[in-house]
Subunit: 369 residues, 2 copies
Amino acid sequence: MLPEHAVVCKDAQPGGCMDERVASAVSNWAPRFTTNGVAVADFQRVTASVERWDDWCSAWSSAAKVHEDLGREAMREGRTRSAGAHLSTAAVYYHFGKFLFVEHPDEMREAHGRAVACLNDALPYLDPAGERIEIPFEGSRMVGVLRRPNGPGPHPVVVMVPGLDSTKEEFRSTEALFLERGLATFSVDGPGQGEAEYDLPIRGDWEVPGQAIVDAVAAQPGIDPERIGVWGVSLGGYYAPRLASGVEQVRACVALAGPYNFGECWDQLPPLTRTAFTARSFSGDQETGRKRALELDLTHAAGKIRVPLLVVAGKQDRLIPWQHAERLVAEAGGPTELIMLEDGNHGNMNVAAKHRYKTADWMAAQLGA
Amino acid sequence: MLPEHAVVCKDAQPGGCMDERVASAVSNWAPRFTTNGVAVADFQRVTASVERWDDWCSAWSSAAKVHEDLGREAMREGRTRSAGAHLSTAAVYYHFGKFLFVEHPDEMREAHGRAVACLNDALPYLDPAGERIEIPFEGSRMVGVLRRPNGPGPHPVVVMVPGLDSTKEEFRSTEALFLERGLATFSVDGPGQGEAEYDLPIRGDWEVPGQAIVDAVAAQPGIDPERIGVWGVSLGGYYAPRLASGVEQVRACVALAGPYNFGECWDQLPPLTRTAFTARSFSGDQETGRKRALELDLTHAAGKIRVPLLVVAGKQDRLIPWQHAERLVAEAGGPTELIMLEDGNHGNMNVAAKHRYKTADWMAAQLGA
């Protein structure tokens, strides 16, 4: 998912407009952070403590450490359920420290390593438990977290695709919506995302990594290979339909706040977002970044989507114009539904109750959960 | 639980200090509201829209209506799990509209009625489901919500006691902590609380209503009458140990942010809190209210608590001085534990991760869950 706040901040240099940044972070990012596992009091404390963007990652890492320590303590005391909760929370905090910090790669990578380690350690103690799956891909690998709902399988499954700055560490609360409706989940870091972002650049042809992901998920025990859906948010809202356009096993697709063509959004993107895309597409400079962004395009893909497609967008999205959603719906080759929220921001995180449950119900219905 | 913000607001008259109130609400109440089911974006929208205290209840009721409508829509469409989530959320919003609105009794009662109706309609669709239980008491009745964890019983159970302005509508997220550890929960409106506040005044001798509550809970199918614990927050952090001091079946007790003697806190209480206590103790005037508050006292009760007692308090509590917690621990007649958090506010809602999981683990261990 992409940051909204940075629209306010026209200068990405340290010290440029930091009070505005923090004020804006509170109003724009609070719904995203808290929906995905950050306590509101921690959000207030951390954002109030940060004056310069350069301090962002260390401030979040300090807050994360509190939760990690609580998790390690709980583990020592055999309180494993609490340990799983604390450590998966710590992973979210480290993740948000790292998520757009590409201009400080060493610090970013350190926080990222902590996020991954905390989530790995939490997985056996989540309810239901999670399992780390590594998928070999083009000389490197993609990493995902598989969770199966309670009850006997084989289970339908939802492949969950992050965006430019979200990763599998951010998806516990969204997984819960699917899991409690009887769907397994597979949250995966694809090319340019999370654990894969150092070796595999962002790419537009997500039918390629998507095929590898779907094949790997379909082969897991307890998973029904005939009932696979895909869900994606922000850039993942582009990747998911692109995947669905070319991967035959997929039975249903949700695109939340995704672009039809990301390059066409370039000029209105916040500087931090452009910088992150440039880095994660291995572009070298922003002009190359813009060109790569233009390759994230559904023109020749939308018509190939034959499975049911749910598109969710918000009219107040300052990153991805809502017209991109209408364009995808108009061109999709199968049955479509559109949830367009008048007051929704990027990802509709500020009006979560208006679409998250409906989305989960829709996917459960499509996959016969 | 009692409001912190109103400490800032020295004048309870409409228009007295409303900008401060809203600013303070955001910083002090956000953790309580969001921990208990309010979306942070809704919290921001509602508090930003309210300038005068007189508008508080209608603003929250409008926000609640959005969730209620989503719930009714989901119910019509047979999406019952989502309906349960939306409607129990709506109940929380209506509750927070009503919770301290005693100076406008008609409006308060209207919002209260909506809160109760929404929760009632949600109960069958929660996971696990809830059941409404009415306990005849002194010519009126106390109402509680019983939820049993998944799996075969008989289950240990935690009686959950609200405070001055909290009610059973506010406890879904706390119930979840106990339920997922194998404990049943019974969230109850006692005298002066929630559905009982119109007929039964606040009283100090909670061993009396407590006995009626425990007897009713012990008689429910699927409940193990030998494994009953009690948990209370704020004034409930007084009621729970008072109950444990005189109700023989209780096996363990948690007191979160409770007073040793509420009357001794009177002078530092926010005006809204004193007004609410005066109304809910049927005191007629504030001087009588103060006298009644002095009757909420553990002097002759603490030593009679023979079961394990966990006391949780925060050094930054501006309503109940943390010394009250130390006094209870010093005088309790059985084994005690104290969690005293340096940075904790009233109820330690701003540092929830530091005590909520530990509390749930402690209760599960005491009751052999």
